[in-house]
Amino acid sequence: MKVAMVMPMSPESAIADVMTQAVPDLSARWDLEVWCPTEPNYRPCPVPVRPYARADAEVLEELATYDLVVYVLGDSPWHSRILPLAQRLPGLVVLHDASLTNLVRQTAIETETFDDLVAQVTEELGEDRAEVLRTAVAPGGADAWLRFCADVPLMEVALEGSLGAVVHSWWHAERVDGLTLGHVTVAPLPVPSTRLGFDENQSSSAARLMERLPQDAVLLVTVGSVNTNRRIDLLLEAIADDTTLRARIHLWAVGPTEAKARSDLLSLARRLDLQDHFLVTGRVTDLLLQEILTRADIAAALRDPVLEGQSASVLTQLLSDTPVMVYNHAHYAELPDDVAVKVDPGTGSEGIRAALRRLVDNDSERARRGARGRDYVLASRSGSAYAAALISAGERALAAKPLVHLNTDLAARLHRLGLNEEQAVVDAVTDLTFDLFDLA
């Protein structure tokens, strides 16, 4: 089977990293080629790579010659030249994020369809939300924008008419249920490799971080972009509220940081008198990240709202033997109970404090959970396991191809009489179609 997988191939793309882990196994079953938007540099790949500059008709024409096209999407600009192809040529869509708001917005601007998008959101969700989308400013600041992205994920823009979807958690699968013509497959996301391509940006000051950490400190880390939805503020408050935690924990926020977020968190740490126990590292090298995770005693992934379909950073942390504390919601709730320490998101800093005390006070508990986490990841995550799920999803996507023709035909017929905009008719036709083709 001739398959094109359209994905970013930038060395710095974490999504490209996990997707390429599946390529060897995929190429054993598929006649696979990788198509990617042009970049200054590309990551190594064992199958032919075909860069394209624009998502135009010529590219679509060539992609249409494949038996199946797999589109890899995440909520970043790396995918803005992939989404327009997915919208025009039905294929299997791999969704790494549970919200595509930023991508859809950016792509609509680039393809000069932004007014249409805003009009659609106005009609479906009302003028207030459409205005937030139009301006990319939510009343309440950065946190409110993240919540807007969670509430208005715009995944239907990518999935409408698609042959199926691949997601990385059951939670995400539920969120996309009904948006694609085909099947929704939950695939086990592999752990990102230790080489994400950040070596060029190595910070010499970051390399000295480890030396400054007291030997008896309990190192608590968060890994990934330092956004407001990491709830680092609550971590600081929880530590400040507990004498033991205040004395023992050093909290490091590891990952790219915008100046405002960094400044806010440092201010908060100062107010709580934790400035000597809190560090925002900024972006670190792959090597330093490994060193930090090796040294870390506890990792925290308290995402709220949750915008990604699975947490690659949590998988990385688990693989490094580090016990992980998560909120007990979204895909985090799917982690085994003996692997992750789950905190009720409604309990605020007190719930976090109690969970931290449990881990700080009990070295063997930390060790046990760390070991169990590593076993869990090793047993369930690999490029081969991921490829197997993608192959299965590909077969289902091919089986869904007739539905695309059915969908196109029905849409054309309804459009002829202007019934495509009559919800009662669309619902009736959908119900009949589901009955006739046993789609429920």
Binding site: R416, L417, A428
Partner: protein, 341 residues
């Protein structure tokens, strides 16, 4: 041409539209065309009606040169060559209550869908005809469209005859709420003596027959109203008309001129109809070919009296009615020519 005559089908209901479709098929065949009649079911509930709309919209009319659509939803069938001869629209979606549906969140989406589909189907049709001026007027009012009126000829050639009037006015047709035979019976309570009312036709239901019988009893006109509550043959019908003083036909907002009116006119008899009877006014010109009365018992009684007590005048109106009916040139040749050109 290969022609598909498309009509709707309400199970076990056979009325004017069904007779019209059958006759049209026959006439088209006699003119040398290959013709099939397709009847699309239309149910009673909003869901069933919506499904009827969907079925028509999704249908493929293959091996057909032209679709001739008569009623909703049949005229929605997709085809590059559709000629619509509109019997009537789906009036629940257009008219004010009680004929139309009231505003209702459960019904409004269906109303919207019907109107949307009609707009497109009428606009896409190669030509648009209506069966009467009344239907054309409604179309103009509701959709802003001008259609040519192509009035329906009678379903069958009849040996119309005129005899000396006896002492009765005849009320023919299906006995139903819509045809308001009850109103004619109530009028007889106020009518002067000397003549009778003959009500002849199959009741819509046993309940309807009970209503009619109770009305005759309560009005105390048992000796002045003769009820023939069954299907009557064409011969019986023509005989009753021929011997009558005139015909009373009181439908509510009839789409067409009314076959009952036409048959009376062709028999040289005047018709009494009501101001709200719609299409019947095509053939009933007040004082010339018949009488148009307010739909109230007393007013109707006056109209009955005028015909019954002034026979010469009734006879003259009957002759005028026949002249007008002939002038309408209700020929199938013209219908076939228009629908197939």
């Amino acid at each position: 041409m290969k022609l598909l005559v498309a009509n709707n089908a309400a199970p076990f209901v056979r009325g004017g539209a069904e007779l019209l479709a059958d006759r049209l098929v026959l006439e088209l065949q006699q003119a040398g065309h290959e013709v099939d009649l397709l009847r699309l079911p239309i149910g009673n509930t909003p869901d069933q009606i919506l499904e009827g709309l969907v079925a028509a919209s999704l249908l493929d009319a293959v091996n057909v040169d032209r679709v001739i659509g008569l009623k909703f939803p049949a005229y929605l069938i997709p085809h590059p060559d559709v000629v619509i001869w509109l019997v009537h629209q789906f009036r629940q979606a257009y008219d004010a209550p009680p004929v139309g549906w009231p505003k209702d969140p459960a019904l409004d989406p269906l109303v919207s869908a019907v109107c949307a589909a009609d707009r497109k189907a009428f606009a896409a049709a190669k030509r648009l005809y209506t069966i009467s001026p009344m239907v054309a007027e409604r179309l103009q009012r509701s959709n802003g469209l001008t259609a040519e009126v192509l009035m329906t000829p009678p379903h069958a050639e009849q040996a119309y005859r005129n005899e000396e009037a006896e002492d009765f006015v005849v009320a023919l047709g299906r006995v139903s709420d819509g045809k308001r035979q009850v109103l004619a019976i109530q009028a007889m309570r106020h009518a002067r003596p000397g003549y009778r009312l003959v009500v002849a036709g199959a009741p819509d239901s046993p309940q309807m027959l009970d209503v009619i019988k109770r009305e005759i009893d309560s009005a105390g006109v048992g000796d002045r109203v003769e009820l023939i509550p069954r299907f009557i043959s064409e011969e019986e019908k023509l005989d009753l008309i021929a011997r009558s003083i005139g015909s009373a036909y009181l439908p509510i907002d009839e789409d067409s001129y009314g076959y009952v009116v036409y048959e009376a006119a062709m028999s040289g008899k005047p018709t009494i109809t009501a101001t709200d009877s719609g299409g019947t006014l095509t053939l009933v010109d007040h004082g010339r070919t018949g009488l148009v009365s307010a739909p109230e018992p007393e007013a109707l009684a006056s109209a009955f009296d005028e015909l019954a007590l002034h026979r010469d005048r009734a006879r003259a109106m009957g002759q005028n009615a026949r002249t007008l009916a002939l002038e309408l040139d209700l020929s199938w040749d013209r219908v076939v020519e228009e629908l197939t050109r």
